[in-house]
Subunit: 235 residues, 2 copies
Amino acid sequence: MPRQQQPAARSSRRRSYDQFCATARSLDLVGDRWTLLIVRELLAGARRYTDLHADLPGVSTDVLASRLKDMEHSGLVTRRRLPPPAAASVYELTDRGRGLLPVLSALAEWGAPALTERRPTDAVRAHWFALPLLRALDGLTHAGVVEVHLDEGEFHVRAGGGGAVAGGAGGAGGVEDLPTAYGDGPAPRADARIALDIEACLALGRGELTLTQAVEDGRVEVSGEGPLAAEIRGG
Amino acid sequence: MPRQQQPAARSSRRRSYDQFCATARSLDLVGDRWTLLIVRELLAGARRYTDLHADLPGVSTDVLASRLKDMEHSGLVTRRRLPPPAAASVYELTDRGRGLLPVLSALAEWGAPALTERRPTDAVRAHWFALPLLRALDGLTHAGVVEVHLDEGEFHVRAGGGGAVAGGAGGAGGVEDLPTAYGDGPAPRADARIALDIEACLALGRGELTLTQAVEDGRVEVSGEGPLAAEIRGG
DNA sequence: CGGCATCCGTGACGATACTG
DNA sequence: CAGTATCGTCACGGATGCCG
């Protein structure tokens, strides 16, 4: 029996603040629950639906699907079908979506002091520490890719060049090796590698510890040959 | 009959993302609907409940009260009772709350390109344009208070000194005349006054137009005697 | 009158089950 | 694997009432 129900207005017509204000307009697009965390995930590169769902513990499947659809509609995200070998599709940020990096960065910096104890219910992923670390590595003069090793896993960030984080319009002005500001897992080509523990990583993010200081104190171990590694080592 | 109901768990127990991540922790505190817009209002200075309700069209009374209570609990807001003559109380941001300025600023900058046409349902307040203008005025070397006149009303911003917006921890590094980054209405003591229309104001916020250029083109009229006014005039 | 609290209707959210 | 369907619950928006 073909049950006939209304499609339930599934498209979740966006609830607008209806204010002629740049901030309110932003929040119309990214103010919904989970939206900015999806951006955080996609800043690490293209992801499949299942990967997103795995790295966003607590989001329900329908909300994730709905958000992705909304974000695609708003021009923040594109959905790309991978070539035949891999029968899957991935979501990735548009330039407009990547432009949210300064927002995420500001949020991460503001939230860093509140990131003290890890509650038993808290999930963790290594690449969640990429945003705070970006600020600490942004002051480097040499540009390049830094691979970061934590106990919780590894990720990599595009460091140096300055202004990639606080900066303005596009994501221009960094290394061309990576399409994104950071990524999960090991780097395809890393110019430097650092290993540190969570405490040091958090202190760097909070600005309580400078990279130079951390290297001197032995809280950060550096490896690599290029000028970027040398700069991290040398201060 | 004294009806006995459970207090209905009024305190709106905060729904946490439960992620050990600085961004997620931030969103735990300011990710709820209306919260960041309340911060936007309070960045203009201390406000009474009724004023907040008037400048946040669409928010319901109970949600506003609930948010203010939550924000007070989170340490973003304090409630201060005014001295007897005025039998009222005002809400104002704590230092921690003021630290959200870079977040609001980043959101405003990202949303500026989307602020094109004004829809008929859109509300407007003059001081909503303070945040975008802050970026344009932040490059000035002389610090001071600029009073801004729009057709929609007037407001004032603390300009110059640089880094007050993109910068880091506190709100330090500006003028001491104002406790806040900007304010509604005319300034108590203005070092310069500018008059412009909405189009010019939006173009400045979008970065399509520099202040120098706007002054040259006559889209911004400057008045005032001090060095700050001279710098705005001169470029 | 300012500052909420209460009631109510709608819809967004979260969890689970299910399907192409 | 990538979502859709269903459902209970709660948050939101609007109006109204209360109380100092």
